[in-house]
Symmetry: C2
Subunit: 562 residues, 2 copies
């Protein structure tokens, strides 16, 4: 290992300037990192010069354990995952986030296209009249609808709302297009943005006034086909989390109290945030049953019993940019973002080290040439990598900067490394260091990136497994929640009992955590009824709520949650 | 050739019904065509049974030569390229159109990603305050802005408009992100929909209140780099038309009168509609110069002359779903849509023929098996194809239906074809017929599809070439326009002269065409100054406008246009 993560003396301003001019003219110079990856504070840093100042300026001041919410807000801004958008008092995704979203989009799109789902693009506006058709469903959205009332300086005769979701836009066309059982299944998906003008404070990725998502809407002749699709799509959502984002999820069904109000039943993938012990809903796939087909009169003639009408069975399923927020919350740390290699736009950053003011121009040039060779060979091996050749920054400052941005692998290369024919690698997620012979880079780095992906998943999975407690004693529930667990308990599945459980697990005087700060005092709610039950529910088992007399129907996962 | 395009007796309803039931249970039955491809009139057709009625019901009543505008409107609805959307009095793209758009999107996206353009996703709303920043530019959009004034039932303190384009949303961030010449170039693109609430009647694909597009926005240190990109992107736009849509275009520069008002200069690809002799703008790539960087204060320190500020050079470039409309107008005919194979979701439709009520169940089954073998072998060869096994429809009705939908290749297969080991193929664009040995399908059909693509391009190109007249005599201009030509004339490029030319080429009493109907009476406007000039402009040549005393600056292409 060539270079400890310590300070290098910053070069004198005069030297910097000369080098910048030289670089600006050099035609083959590897491109500077993208603005979205560049530190905003570099001007100040260039002035103060030293390492500590730089490191402090770009670091995150809140800690993940100390103040999770502040840490998260600070992290996504400083790591440039979102930008604040003043005009609508909300956040928008950065190009770095869009890279992740598009990776997910391509992965999911290929799989639904394979299933025969067609891409649609319905309009963004809908009128009050059509919204009224599905009043129950839309009621929840009503306070958040953004209404267009004017075009230019003229009032619209009929105001239109920007879609909060597209049932009311799409289902009248389902009714028009589906005229025979041969038109089924109808499987449509669209990638778009929807608007929910939240009055509450927004949370990047989790609650923003406009967000990107996909919404799939399908119709089937039979309940069986519809039910199969709901589960198949849920498995794809689990794949997005587990295979791309290195986030383990529990697949299950929502209780009546937590299901999508307009549908028959809802399936969900639920993730877990170790830092605060909260559950978080990952994505949902709904069987709408025949509720909407009755509302919108979507029928076909029964192919078996001629003359009989059948209302089609519908599903809807959606995945939003929330996935990015969940991933950030789970993997990142006090140094910044930690990205799983499969979705990182930049998988490895190559940083020259050991170059000082005393290094001769010839040695600099030879070293730069070797760096470029390494970069090219990695690129050929399919590794998304770049070289950080910025002048005027110490290696330590660069280390901090790329750690903040979450790049999975740092590759340091100095004259001593060169002499030994190796590079030094540092894993972002664990801090682990090692060396790799230059000749082996093209084979070892891709494998290493996959190993990192797996290690990140395994770590998150171990934590979720450890903190998913199967309890049969009510007295243990609250202590479990207070020590950052979710619980799986025998439950009667009744909405009234669920409400009561929520109340019973609120705390009037919240306990203090080890840091002397109050622990979350919210009550727990049901996350899902896991498809994989922890063990057999012995017949006659009572619901764990001591006030409830009913028999338990399932092991249900509860937790404090988002 | 087995089957002439004539009527087959429709099967008796009882037979139909039996077969439908049988099909519905058969697990391996190839999937029925998608709803978006299915005739809406089939119930009536099934009742009337005969061939002529069916053919008449699904056909287009207007003709391309007789009433181009009515023909187009009818075509895009009946061929299911758009659906009318009542809520916003506009049209929306169908899944068939979305397939085309996504093919274009993937093609273009791969090429700009290769250039290093990052994908962005800026919000859809912007406030009056930020719009006012670029008043001149936004003035043209002002009457078409859709204003959100309420969220739920509360009035917004500051109303926000839905973006008609994103300069005002994006450039404040350019100012924030670009802090040094090392942050350049900044190259962003987004795929989204924009809203321009047109008061005028909408035209599918050409003028709708919401439409899909991509908008690229970039910033460079130097004018040279910026100018190079403008042309590179224009070449990609030409590629979309020429390589994907089989539409020839002329690349050129817009005159001052026709350029994007906010920019320095505009480049364009211009297409030509043979049916009415009009030019149509295909897509534009703008050099914005430093206009916006001065408005939005987007500067860097001059890397050469330290301490000096440089306003960055910006470009913007956009391609919208309009491309689909241009393609439809050029290739389609009185029978319906004609799609170039490269962008057709369904490239070949396989139709069983020669099966009558007398055919035995065994023969039917053997024939169906062979059809499925053909379909599978074509699919393996990479041909996007499907089989039309719908009962109760004559082959002739199916021929008409798939002609209406524009499928490039019809493959007919009957017992007599089977006996000879061939299929009969019919080219949608030319009506040409031929046979192909079944054993050669996997090699011959892909080649044939490429031949069709080329033939469609060549036909359109020949027509554009023939109708692009280089004129040096003013007296010939009006007759040329009246016989469906565009003209290339010596022109001074002055906006006032251009206005005058427009007036001079309007006709008070329009001439009547060969069908006795009046010919278009609009004046001509400049389409572009072609980069490839038709010949050298002799020094001292006068502007062709007889009232103009100025010297011509270029050969400029003029025409009646969209």
């Amino acid at each position: 290992m060539e270079q400890e993560k310590t300070a290098q003396p910053a070069e004198a301003p005069a030297v910097q300037q000369q080098q910048q001019e030289k670089k600006a003219k050099a035609p083959k110079q590897p491109k500077a990192p993208k603005p979205s990856q560049q530190p905003k504070q570099k001007k100040e840093v260039a002035v103060v010069g030293g390492k500590k100042q730089g490191a402090e300026l770009i670091g995150i001041t809140a800690t993940k354990d100390g103040n999770f919410s502040a840490w998260y807000q600070e992290l996504v801004l400083k790591a440039e995952m979102v930008e604040y958008y003043n005009e609508a008092s909300t956040e928008m995704p950065s190009t770095a986030s869009m890279y992740i979203w598009n990776t997910i989009r391509n992965w999911f799109q290929a799989r639904i296209a394979e299933r025969g789902v067609d891409e649609a693009s319905f309009p963004m506006f809908l009128s009050k009249t059509s919204l009224d058709k599905e009043k129950d469903h839309v009621e929840g959205f009503a306070p958040e609808l953004a209404w267009v009332t004017k075009a230019g300086d003229k009032d619209l005769e009929v105001p239109v709302a920007v879609r909060p979701t597209s049932e009311a836009v799409m289902y009248p066309y389902f009714s028009k297009w589906i005229r025979s059982h041969r038109d089924l299944p109808l499987m449509l998906n669209q990638w778009n943005s929807v608007v929910r003008w939240e009055a509450k404070q927004t949370t990047p990725f989790l609650r923003t006034r406009e967000f990107l998502w996909q919404e799939g809407h399908t119709a089937y002749l039979t309940e069986e086909e519809s039910a199969k699709e709901v589960r198949d799509i849920l498995e794809l959502y689990a794949g997005v989390y587990e295979e791309l984002l290195a986030v383990p999820v529990v697949r299950g069904k929502k209780t009546e109290a937590e299901k999508f109000a307009g549908g028959a039943w809802t399936t969900t993938v639920e993730a877990y945030i170790p830092a605060n012990g909260r559950g978080i809903q990952g994505a949902t796939s709904h069987c709408l049953g025949q509720n909407f087909s009755k509302m919108f009169d979507i029928t076909v003639e029964d192919p078996v019993n001629k003359g009989e009408k059948i209302h089609v069975w519908q599903n809807s399923w959606g995945l939003s940019t929330r996935v990015i927020g969940v991933m950030v919350m789970i993997h990142s740390d006090d140094k910044g973002l930690v990205l799983p290699p499969r979705i990182a736009k930049l998988q490895a950053i190559l940083i020259p080290v050991g170059i000082t003011a005393k290094t001769t121009p010839e040695d600099r040039e030879a070293h730069a040439k070797k760096l470029e060779e390494i970069r090219v060979s990695l690129k050929k091996a399919g590794v998304r990598c770049d070289t950080d050749l910025r002048d005027g920054y110490t290696p330590a400052w660069k280390f901090n900067d790329w750690e903040l941005k979450g790049v999975p692998l740092r590759i340091e290369f100095g004259p001593k490394d060169a002499a030994q024919g190796v590079v030094t690698v540092v894993h972002r997620h664990s801090g682990e260091k090692g060396t790799i012979p230059i000749d082996d880079l093209a084979t070892k780095v891709p494998t290493l990136l996959e190993d990192i992906q797996k290690a990140m998943y395994d770590k998150a999975d171990a934590s979720f497994t450890e903190h998913r407690l199967v309890l049969e004693d009510w007295e243990k529930v609250l202590p479990a929640l207070n020590t950052k667990n979710v619980v799986i308990i025998p439950f009667c599945e009744a909405p009234a009992c669920e409400d009561r459980i929520k109340d019973m697990t609120k705390e009037e005087k919240p306990m203090l955590g080890p840091d002397g700060k109050p622990l979350p005092s919210m009550g727990m709610k049901s996350l899902c009824i896991p498809f994989t039950q922890p063990k057999e529910l012995v017949s006659g088992t009572k619901c764990l709520n001591p006030e409830c007399k009913a028999e338990a129907k399932s092991w249900t996962m509860f937790g404090r949650s988002y």
